[in-house]
Structures are given as C-alpha cells and as structure tokens.
Amino acid sequence: MPLKPGAVALVAEDEPLVRMEAADVLGDAGFDVLEASTTPAALAFLEMHPEITLLFTDVVMPGPIDGLALAHEVRRRWAEVKIIIVSGRVTPDPAQLPEGARFLEKPYDPNRVARMVREMGLRPTT
C-alpha cells in the first residue's frame, strides 16, 4: 500500500481502544495512520515505511524498551521524524525528551493534537 509522503503518522500504544482513538484523531488531522501495539512493532514499521513523518507514542509500553526509549531510538535513527510523547502515568522531565519532541498528558484534547502537529511544521494532506 503506497503511502503519500509527508502524511504518515505512526501511533505506538498498547491499549487498543486508546490506540484506535489516537489513530482517528491523527486521521482527522489529515494523516494516514499506522498502528503499533509494542515498541518492536513500531520500529519494524519505521524500517519498512520511510515515509513516516510523525511518531505518536505512549510511554508505558510492553516490550524490551518503553515509549521514551523508542522515541530516543527514533530520534537517533530517523532524525527528521517528529515526535509526540503522551502519558497519564509519567510526566517526563523536558531534559529526558529527545530533542524537538513534544509531550502531552493523557487524557488529551484532540484539538490540541491537531494544533501541535501544525506547530511542529507538519503539513498533513487534508
């Protein structure tokens, strides 16, 4: 399935319902959305889909690394990918976040997500 460059977001979230909602929120914001329920699955998507421009990840995730470590890994390997980190459990110190990454506390306002995406200079197809 060919994805349009510049318009693909990857949601990493283990809770299916919450992931579904995040996918819809990003879909409403104009993204094509890929969903991963674990951090290894998220990395696999990034390797397969270089067109991914946004990682939207939860912090507490099953798997060998958590969402924060995933974000750092993505920053290291795919420097151009924008990152939004969400959590209801931990509020990371800004210094703990990868450079340029934004943090959102759960539950979040869908409009806030759309605004943040625009602020980060992403131009999804709408």
Partner: protein, 467 residues
C-alpha cells in the same frame, strides 16, 4: 588607786559576762557545756527553747549521748571522742526534743581547754536543721519523681540551659533513639556534633536545632523533623519539638525538647504518597479510556440514542472490569472473571455461554481491553449472530501455548446455532476495536456459515505489563 582599779576591773568583768551571756542566750543554736563524761552542765536559754526544756534542772547532769539513738548515738560518742582528743566532732542526726518533737540537728563538739591547755570541758553546739532537711528531702523527692518521669516517658528528652545552650541532661529513651548516650555539648555551637539531614538531604546546622533556636532567644517554641545519623550507621527519622523554660520574669533560662522516632509515620506517609500517585495514574488511565470510548462511540453511532445506549453499556463493562481489578489482592485480574463479567450482560437465560480455560491472571490494561472486546463480540452476537435466536450459544475458551518468554495466550470465541452470518458491510466501533486485538498480538476473525469465530492471541508477557 589599786582599789579603784580593781573595782573598775570587777565592774568591767561583770559587764563582759553579761554581754557574753546575752550573746549566748540570743543564739538560736542549742549551746551546751558538758563535763568530760559528757554530762550536761550548762545550756543556753536559746538552746532550752529549741530543745523544749523549761527547767534546766530537769536535764542537768544527764548524759548528752542519751538524747541520741542508734546511728545518732554512735555519731555522738564519736564526736565526743574527737573533741576530747582536741579535735572537732561533727555530725548530723535526728533526735527528739525533751517534749518528744523529732528534729534534725547539725552538731559540733569541741573541747574547752583549761589553763593547762588540756580539755577540761566540752562545748556542744547543735543547730536545728529540720526545715533545711525537709526542704532537701522535698527536693530529693521532687528530683526522684522527675527522674522517674524522664526515664519512663516514651519520648526522648533533652534539657539545656540558656543562653549558652549547654546540655544539662538527657534521658534513656533519647539514647535509644539516637543510638548514643547523651552528648553533653558545652554550647549550642557544639550541636554540630549531632549528625542529621533535612528531607532534601542538606546537613542540619547546629543552629537549626530547636534547642539552639530557643536557648539563643530566637523563639520560645521550635520544632523540626530530621533524618538522624546514628553511630551504628542507621538513619532514623526523628521529630524534635522544643519549648522554652522561663523564669518569673519571662526570661528564657533554658529549653527542653522532646525527641520522637517518627520512622513508622514517615514510612506510612511515603506509602500513602505512592498509593496516591498510583491512584492518580489509574484515574488518568481510566479517564483516557472513557474519553476514547465516548469519542469512538459518538464517531461510529448511527444516532444519538444509539450512542447513548452503547456508551452506557460500554461504561458498565469498564466498571465491571475495574471491580475485578480492585477486588484482587494483587494488581491483576483472573481471565475467568473478566470473561464472565463481560458476558453476564448478554446472557438472557443463563445458558448462552460455555466458558472454559485455566486459571490465569493478566494485568489491568489487558483485562480492560479483553473485557471490552468480549462485550463487543457479544453485542454483535445479540444483534446478528448466535445470541439473536433462542437456541444459539457461544463457546469461549482460552489456554497458554509454550512456556517462559515464549508463552502465548489465546482466547477463542465460537458462536453456534445462530443464523448464517456474513461479514458486515459497515465497520462499527466493535469490529474496529476487535480487529486491534490484545497488545502485541493478533486477531483472527472469521465469518463462518455456522457462526462468528474469533481468536485473539498475544504474548503472555505483554498481558502482564502494568498500565
């Protein structure tokens, strides 16, 4: 001239004797003269008063040691011996007056020497010290009471004088708490020898202690909680609470502090903090779920009425899954319970579901997801599948394949006895949720002619991760 001089000398002598007698009789001491055998030969008027003797003849010639009994008698004999050999006999003892009033006496016995320089008679001077003795014993009793209180109260106590801050005393409980005997610091500047830390890890300065604050006149009351470094290496949370001791003018003359071990309280507070944080996280997670359920329900509902009913039912399932989690001793839920609770809403005759699987516990996040997915499967079955006809039923079974890190959980949903099913044309909330499956797992949804079949599988390890 000689006669005149002698007369003058005689008058002078008479005058001197009268003077001496008036001195003696005005003394409050009991002054007695004894012969060398210790018999009474003379007693001053003042002495007769304190000894309650009205006529000296009643006691004249009596042996003086007979006024004393027991130890007093032995002390009196020893004092007499000392005086006879030219020394000073001195003792304190209790003796009754002539009328039987018990009194304490401080007694000095000395020799009165003759012209040859040898002891000729003995002088015994007894001072009534009853009042002083009473005050002393009152003080001793008061000190004994204070000491008993100090040693039995369950808090550590430390006493210091002001303004120096010199430590005067500390009790046994204090030593138990601090792990060392009382540190008799000479001034508040020396309180630096106590090693303690504030909650933020800063060392406690000598002048931070309540004893220093109060004895230096900064305040009348002070309190602090510190982590105390005991010599045995243990660190203990202690509360120090002090008050000024004031004189009649209200000047601070000292300070007393109570020191208590608050380790248990601190541990309970820390535990409470953890619980509160955990509760807050749970609540946020639940709110996120509710937000998602509400938003997804509204997105996918054909009408507002349908949305209201669907939302209510989904929140009930969420509530039941929470009940199971809260009832558990550990932070996990039994799959059996999650399945039964999620399906109970849809079991109209008590025979709709055949549930079987091993006893298995999963984490909160997986339990909530599984409960919601089963609810959606059951909702669809009631609308279009096996549960839409009187004799339809559903088999729900689960198991674990493999062991250790490779252990895989699967749960199978199999409808029977319903009408022939076809894949839905429109994907609603239920099918979208079901398709996502459990964390890190897969879903196989089949619209077989004999009924819907759905299999969830996921690594067991992922299902036990906390939210």
């Amino acid at each position: 001239m000689y006669g005149v001089d002698a007369e003058a000398q005689r008058v002078q002598q008479q005058s001197d004797v009268a003077f001496l007698q008036s001195v003696l009789s005005s003394s409050a001491d009991c002054i007695k003269v004894l012969d060398l055998d210790a018999r009474l030969t003379f007693m001053t008027d003042g002495g007769m008063r304190v000894m309650e003797i009205s006529d000296f003849n009643d006691v004249k010639g009596c042996p003086w040691p007979d006024f004393w009994t027991d130890q007093g008698n032995r002390d009196a004999l020893a004092a007499l011996d000392a005086a006879r050999s030219g020394g000073l006999g001195h003792f304190q003892g209790m003796a009754h007056t002539y009328r039987g009033t018990p009194k304490w006496w401080d007694v000095q016995v000395t020799a009165i020497r003759g012209p040859d320089g040898l002891p000729q008679r003995l002088l015994a001077v007894s001072r009534d010290i009853t009042a002083q003795k009473a005050a002393e014993s009152h003080l001793a009793a008061s000190e004994a009471r204070l000491s008993t209180v100090m040693e039995t109260v369950p808090v550590g106590i430390l006493l210091a004088e002001a303004p120096s801050g010199r430590i005067l005393m500390g009790n046994r409980r204090l030593a138990e708490i601090l792990g060392h005997s009382t540190l008799y610091a000479s001034s508040s500047n020396a309180y630096g020898e106590f090693v303690a830390y504030h909650a933020d890890g800063r060392p406690v300065d000598a002048q931070d202690y309540p004893l220093a604050q109060i004895t230096s006149g900064l305040c009348k009351k002070a309190a602090i909680e510190v982590l105390y470094q005991r010599p045995d290496g243990e660190r203990r949370w202690i509360a120090i609470s002090g008050e000024a001791i004031e004189d009649e003018q209200g000047e601070t003359v000292g300070a007393v502090v109570a020191v208590s071990d608050i380790g248990d309280r601190k541990a309970a507070e820390a535990q409470q903090d953890i619980l509160n944080r955990e509760l807050s996280h749970r609540l946020k997670n639940t709110l996120t779920l509710v937000q998602s359920i509400a938003s997804q329900t509204l997105r996918n509902a054909p009408s507002l009425d349908a949305a209201r009913d669907a939302l209510a039912a989904r929140l009930v399932v969420l509530g039941k899954a929470h009940d199971i989690l809260l009832a558990g001793q550990t932070d996990s839920a039994s799959v059996d319970q999650v399945v039964r609770e999620a399906l109970s809403l849809h079991d109209d005759n008590g025979r709709r579901f055949r549930v079987s699987g091993p006893s298995l516990f999963i984490g909160p996040s997986a339990a909530l997801s599984l409960g919601l997915m089963l609810h959606e499967l059951a909702t669809n079955a009631v609308k279009y599948g096996a549960l839409s006809v009187p004799n339809g039923c559903v088999n729900v079974g689960w198991a674990i394949d493999g062991t250790g890190a490779a252990a895989e959980f699967w749960l199978d949903w199999r409808e029977q006895g319903g009408p022939p099913v076809t894949p839905p044309t429109r994907k609603g909330f239920g099918s979208r949720l079901i398709q996502r499956g459990l964390a890190g797992g897969e879903v196989a949804l089949r619209y077989a002619a004999e009924g819907v079949e759905c299999t969830f599988s996921a690594p067991l390890a992922g299902l036990r991760v906390d939210v």
